[in-house]
Symmetry: C2
């Protein structure tokens, strides 16, 4: 007795998938993922229509989803992030129903509390046994943590593991146990290893980025949080990684032993673990091969579920215990609201991911961004889209100076005492406009193409169609 | 921000526990457990009444529960096992409501499917951080696996971790994550290490036991299951452990590499892992210190939840993939029904635990028992209580011969071919009666003191009051 289905088609038939149901996917294979497209093609061939796709993130590799939208196979999309390939298509107004953007914490919360039930979850499994015990850290398509897939598997009515790494029973060290899996499908390849780690960015060499990174570390030191037990998350952007590098140097020099590094984990965070800056890494997603190797072999480097990472519905999540997070922005306004969903032209090219979750949880939520990019101001009067409310952001670091949210009076004094150039955010805005000219108003229509749903379930903004 | 309650009393008050609710406990600290008594005394002092106690098992250390029953603090008990201390009290008819006996697989199933919801779960945590990430493998009260506590924590409305091993955040390698925990209470001691491993039994030196153990291994070899990929569970009784020892010798000599050992894990199973008989151990409960040390340090030795172990409500459980289980019995009847709940006098002194779950799952479910004990026949016409239905038992090994369930015609032929002395179970019964005299009918009354609920949720027997 085992759960091996003959092929993907039969697994889908066995699942009882019908018109109007919801299917889910996770994004650990990132831009190398083969599973979503493979599944959607099979579903389309079966003539199933009007599906809701709940995917933790969507990358350019998923552009073929546009055809399934046009053909009516997919009529609603729920996701936490959508890169510009599909985002641009959505922004043109092709979908009848608005995309529902959630956060990496809000998505598992809504799956668990029953707001967004999943009928059939598809789990890309780099290693899996015939009963469905599966993990991400081994196999030719190894991607490390499967944190975002865990709530899907736990809560979906039917769970199909798709694997190119079938192993003998029992596979131990599972990310997801057999108790949650209905069927296992063996396929030739679930992903392209090159694409799986495509998200990796190297430390910036741009002098503006390096200056911001240095300032970011100065701000962390001045905040008073950089001490024994310090915890930290940073994104995979070039300047954020540079900040991690500078931070490591300071921690080693000053012999500060932190407690944990969190998040999507890069090799830079692995270095910090190995060199003694942290006791552990808590990993919901690996960004590069060094992180994958580390989670496979180092017991201090642990997988966490998306729920454990960031769910506001859990009894607590790791973000609630986080000291400092460094985040990016495509726009920030004078109320410290952040846009990470759209480009300045209003087209979808991103999403919150864990942005609002970590900003809400961390004691110090820091944005690193230049005041302008490609002659477009980043600091502005009003963001095109509110991804993360300004009330959860503490400080903006730019190449021209640092702005502190007025709610953080004490932090402002600390930074000034440390000799950091603190400016009013409106000054930074004016500086940006002086350099780049006032921002062009994008050609935005009336029709809503996406709702931005904050981690507590409230709709905090709408994204509207962009006229060509 | 953390979840540390001032003390146990305040944690209980914060939980909103009220008259008529259900509280739960797990039994990894076995006869050394301090937590259940400590909690019950606090609850009684708060004047809360009419509670249902859902405990995965109850040992002699929990005899003080009798007073709380008499005082009306506890009016219903749900458990999988009850040793004679409390069992004898229950059998005397002290409780208004019958005890509900479930199995180690049926209990988590009914917690998860909502039949037996838990209001407040108390988790004995040998190591725990202030946010509730907790585990059993470290600390002065280390007990290894916390498998039975995992479904309680996941499903209870409110979860209180009681610990004598507070650790800095984040404790990694958690058995239960902070996402499931509401409050943490630090106490002086959660258990007596000597009692925690009190369940350990040494390999029998009794020649009858050794003979049965040898025969058991002969039966396993003859069954055809002892080959590459073999999986195995055995209890902690003396003859079962002796069988494990003989089995190890055979596997090593014949270079048979099994896949996994399952269950409550003893040091004998750890030896089998270390010497290469198994690829892994899947552990829902550690029976001795060697097992605790192994689960802490050897990544091939893995904790599994009670759900993963044996739940019939899960999409599959490990018992479904098990080859051979060796089980004990206080009585077995000519239909192969097994009693592990009552002694021959009809008094409660045990329970199914994982007995019926493994019997149902394993390809070969074997009972080892002498035909009589202390001049009382074990093989009988009709068991006093059906714990495990005969339809799930394949073979009985006694010191006088082996009986095969008539449903297993092929097995019977295999055993005969191997020169094993196969007898009709009725012959064994007659032999038992000849040796010991016909069994005395216990002085059983009418009143039902316990229901035996099979893993599928059906009541398969009642246990009645025993008149003094």
């Amino acid at each position: 007795m085992n759960k091996l289905a003959k092929d993907l088609k039969h697994a889908i038939l066995d699942s009882g998938l019908k018109d109007g149901m919801t299917i889910s996917f996770h994004h650990h294979l990132r831009n190398g993922d083969h599973v979503l497209n493979m599944v959607m093609d099979e579903i389309a061939a079966l003539g199933i229509k009007d599906l809701t796709v709940n995917a933790s993130s969507l990358f350019d590799v998923h552009k073929p989803l546009a055809e399934h939208i046009k053909n009516g196979v997919v009529t609603t999309i729920l996701t936490d992030y959508m890169s510009s390939g599909l985002g641009s298509f959505i922004s043109s107004g092709w979908m009848k129903n608005p995309v529902q953007f959630r956060t990496h914490g809000g998505r598992p919360a809504d799956i668990e509390n029953g707001r967004t039930p999943v009928d059939v979850a598809f789990i890309a499994a780099p290693a899996c046994d015939p009963m469905g015990n599966l993990k991400g850290s081994e196999g030719r398509s190894a991607c490390g943590s499967l944190g975002y897939a865990i709530p899907d598997a736990k809560n979906a009515r039917y769970v199909i593991a798709v694997t190119d790494g079938l192993r003998p029973y029992p596979l131990t060290g599972w990310s997801i146990p057999e108790t949650d899996v209905d069927a296992v499908v063996a396929v030739e390849s679930i992903g392209d290893p090159a694409g799986i780690v495509s998200g990796t960015t190297k430390i910036t060499r741009d002098p503006v980025g390096l200056r911001m990174a240095e300032t970011a570390v100065d701000v962390i030191r001045a905040s008073g949080l950089l001490k024994e037990g310090f915890s930290f998350q940073t994104g995979a952007g070039g300047a954020s990684l540079a900040a991690a590098k500078y931070l490591k140097d300071v921690m080693l020099k000053e012999e500060i032993r932190g407690s944990f590094g969190l998040g999507g984990i890069t090799g830079y965070m692995v270095d910090m673990l190995r060199e003694g800056c942290f006791e552990s890494l808590l990993d919901v997603q690996c960004f590069d091969l060094k992180a994958v190797e580390s989670i496979r072999s180092d017991p201090r480097h642990r997988e966490i579920s998306a729920t454990h990472y960031a769910s506001p519905f859990a009894k607590s999540a790791v973000v609630d215990s986080l000291d400092v997070v460094i985040l990016g922005a495509t726009e920030i306004d004078t109320d410290f609201n952040i846009n990470v969903h759209t480009d300045s032209d209003g087209r979808i090219m991103g999403g919150s991911g864990g942005h609002s979750d970590t900003a809400a949880g961390a004691k110090l939520a820091m944005i690193i961004a230049p005041i302008s990019r490609a002659r477009l101001p980043i600091v502005t009067d009003r963001v095109t889209c509110i991804s993360t409310p300004g009330s959860t952001i503490d400080v903006l670091v730019t190449q021209k100076g640092v702005a502190v949210n007025p709610k953080d009076e004490e932090l402002k004094l600390r930074l000034k005492d440390a000799g950091i150039k603190v400016m009013d955010i409106r000054e930074l805005k004016e500086l940006a406009e002086k350099t780049s000219g006032a921002p062009l108003k994008p050609a935005i229509g009336e029709r809503v193409v996406a709702d931005v749903i904050y981690r507590d379930g409230t709709v905090i903004d709408h994204i509207r169609e962009v006229r060509a």
